[in-house]
């Protein structure tokens, strides 16, 4: 079945940099007149052809370049990419906020966009009035809103304040109400951008759940743009990775997310790392500070329970009798996985350089890329901590196998980041 509902064909979009006109009306008219007669604008500095290769001197920049893909009925497609990769431009074109420079998009069904929630909210109007206004802006008919009003109010959790002007709402209430309206839109195709960055944890869960319902239960087609890789993984079956306005890869979500993560911040660093000020957390006393780190394994690949040993060089600016090194490990989605708060301290004297070997004994991590942030301080979890210096997730490593002989072939992201150990004993 090829139930294609969105067909994007060779979409390009370029933006003009700098001034958007020639500065004077006279020159604009001259250029316009030339165009009418089919000649080239005498005042144009760059012709279209020259700018095709996006070189630095050009006055045009391609936000999207020759992008094509299809989306099928009921599919939840993630669109991921670094800032400036063209995601938002693509969504803007899809939701008809702006039009492409060339190419063509064919769509079956009504598109509802959630580019940013709360669009058109009027501060003087009450929550209820704003539901109607916002709903209408998003393309809902009045009777549709009437039918869903209770559901929307309930979902937003602001029923107490529904007849208060929204200018007196807290920002969280405002956003929740806005999302509630948007979430109850009934378009065949839903375009969502970054909405999950709002609200508290509970509301985020609710929002994610709603999106899942929309895509799974109701068979709606959803285009989802987010930096939250965990959410993309949870919601999307397929994903498209954009980079510099072009599609780098499109395929199953897990592969696409990995491809994106590898291509950006998760590039493996070398095993040796010199700490400079730009990597340090600001505001620590630096009684003792980091000089460098060295992971003993050159390829930075570990097995599940292999001890991870780091050689750490420290420099002391003051005496410290009881120094501890603590470490937090983060997964590729930037969620903390676990921390070590060590009990075995060491002594360091003023102006002394010390080399210590720090080992995380049995990390028990599952397959994936990880980063670690590390800090040095005094005290422990029983006495309280004072941090002297901290360096945050710039160093990466990878877990790729169970032990020296068995490699991970299956590890779904939804299983988490810890590989728990078990025993199974037959009793009878």
């Amino acid at each position: 079945m090829s139930d294609t509902v969105i067909k994007v064909e060779n979409i390009s979009k370029f933006y003009q940099l700098g001034l958007i006109n020639h500065g004077t009306l006279a020159k604009d008219l001259q250029g316009w007149w030339a165009k009418i007669r089919g000649k080239e604008d005498p005042n144009s500095q760059v012709s279209l052809l020259n700018s095709q290769n996006n070189n630095a001197g050009s006055d045009f920049i391609y936000a999207l370049k020759d992008v094509s893909f299809d989306v099928k009925q009921g599919e939840v497609l993630g669109i991921i990419g670094a800032n400036g990769a063209g995601k938002s431009t693509l969504l803007k074109i899809l939701s008809r906020v702006t039009s492409p420079t060339s190419g063509c998009i064919k769509i079956k069904g009504r598109i509802g966009s959630l580019l940013e929630v709360g669009t058109g909210f009027h501060p003087e109007l009450t929550g209820r009035e704003n539901i109607y206004l916002n709903g209408a802006i998003l393309g809902m008919r009045k009777h549709e809103i009437d039918k869903k009003l209770d559901e929307i109010i309930d979902f937003s959790g602001v029923e107490k304040f529904i007849d208060t002007p929204v200018k007196r709402y807290s920002s969280g209430m405002y956003v929740r109400l806005a999302f509630a309206v948007a979430a109850h839109l009934d378009p065949e195709i839903l375009v969502v951008d970054e909405v999950l960055a709002v609200g508290d944890a509970e509301f985020q869960k609710k929002a994610l759940g709603k999106m899942q319902d929309v895509s799974r239960g109701e068979g709606r087609t959803v285009l989802f743009v987010s930096h939250n890789m965990a959410a993309v993984r949870q919601l999307c079956k397929k994903a498209v990775v954009l980079d510099n306005g072009q599609i780098v890869m499109s395929g199953q979500t897990d592969e696409a997310v990995d491809c994106y993560l590898k291509s950006t911040q998760m590039e493996k660093t070398s095993n040796y790392f010199v700490v400079t000020d730009e990597y340090r957390d600001k505001g620590h006393a630096q009684d003792v500070s980091f000089v460098s780190f060295k992971l003993l394994k050159k390829d930075l690949c570990y097995s599940c329970n292999e001890p991870i040993t780091i050689q750490i060089k420290l420099h002391a600016n003051k005496d410290c009798k009881d120094c501890h090194i603590n470490c937090t490990i983060w997964n590729a989605e930037k969620q903390p996985v676990g921390s070590v708060v060590s009990f075995d301290g060491f002594k360091i004297e003023k102006d002394e350089d010390k080399l210590v070997e720090y080992t995380i004994k049995n990390p028990g991590l599952a397959a994936g890329m990880y980063t670690y942030s590390i800090s040095v301080g005094s005290g422990d979890i029983t006495t309280g901590l004072t941090i002297f210096d901290a360096v945050r997730d710039f160093m990466t490593f990878e877990i790729d196998r169970l032990d020296d002989s068995k490699y991970f072939t299956v590890w779904a992201k939804s299983w988490g980041s810890i590989y728990l150990q078990s025993t199974t004993r037959e009793i009878k």
Binding site: Y15, G103, E124, L125
Partner: protein, 282 residues
């Protein structure tokens, strides 16, 4: 599968040369009514007098004109009671200028929403014109009340048959304001100067119309030029409806109607042209 391609929306780089998408506008009728409602509830929230402001504005302007032009400058009003003469002009002119000014702010004033969501862009100017119409209706009823009270004391006031055409005069004012506003708003996406210029220009324009002085004061040799101003025949006819003063000739009115229609189409044309990509330049 060789399914018959029945796409509901096709997004291409350029709009058709002339595309007045009334069907789409109709789909957004609920939005238009929401905007109109918003304009009313939001404008007078947290004011003590609330909707009374609709009355205060024309009353004060009339009093001002009465003092400055009627009593200090002693400009005649062709035998029409001064209060009625000024008010008649002011309310219709107010309607026109409100249509023009709010429409000319469509793109710049709503860039925030336009950048986020697509809806028929024409909903904004259309809802503005309707909001202004409601305001006009309120002020018009005030005028009628004053007119009737004058009529009781002064039998000399004679309505003319043109009274039945009043809705048409109002409609033409709306169309004219809309047309000019659409042209200006399309240009403001590129030349922001117009935003400042337009408020000023509308103010000056009022003095080129017979609101504070009667048409009879315009010298005969200038009259044909003066009547080229499309607003003048409408205002004169509106006055004629209530006071049976002189009517503009058919030619004069014909020019005004032609100009109005031309400006409306020109407005829709440039609006269409700008609509699709203005987000990138505004």
């Amino acid at each position: 599968m060789s399914e018959k391609e029945n796409w509901t929306t096709i997004i291409t780089p350029k709009n058709k040369f002339f595309r007045l998408n009334l069907k789409e506008l109709w789909q957004y009728r609920d939005l238009i009514s929401s905007f109109v409602k918003r304009d009313f509830t939001a404008t007078y929230k947290q004011t003590i007098l609330g909707p009374l402001w609709f009355f205060i504005q024309p009353i004060f302007t009339t009093i001002m004109f009465l003092i400055v032009f009627g009593n200090i400058a002693k400009i005649p009003t062709d035998g029409i009671p001064q209060v009625l003469f000024y008010m008649n002009g002011i309310i219709l002119w107010n309607y026109f200028s409100k249509c023009l000014l709010s429409t000319s702010n469509t793109f710049v004033g709503n860039a925030g929403i336009f950048k986020k969501v697509y809806f028929s862009r024409l909903t904004i100017p259309v809802s503005n014109v309707i909001s202004a119409l409601v305001q006009f209706a309120i002020q018009f009823s005030l005028f009628i009340i004053i007119f009737i009270s004058y009529k009781i004391y002064d039998a000399d006031l004679r309505l003319s048959l043109a009274i039945f055409a009043v809705p048409l005069f109002v409609l033409q004012m709306a169309v004219l304001g809309l047309g000019i506003g659409l042209i200006i708003t399309s240009l403001t996406t590129k030349y922001r100067d117009l935003t400042y210029l337009v408020g000023f220009a509308v103010q000056l324009w009022m003095y080129a119309t017979p609101i504070v002085y009667p048409l009879s004061m315009v010298p005969d040799k200038w009259r044909s030029l003066y009547m080229m101003n499309p607003v003048v025949p409408i205002l004169e006819s509106f006055k004629h409806a209530f006071f049976s003063t002189g009517m503009p000739s058919v030619t004069e009115y014909g020019i005004s109607v032609t100009t109005t229609i031309f400006l409306l189409f020109a407005g829709i044309f440039v609006f269409n042209f700008v609509e699709k990509n203005f987000v990138d330049t505004v």
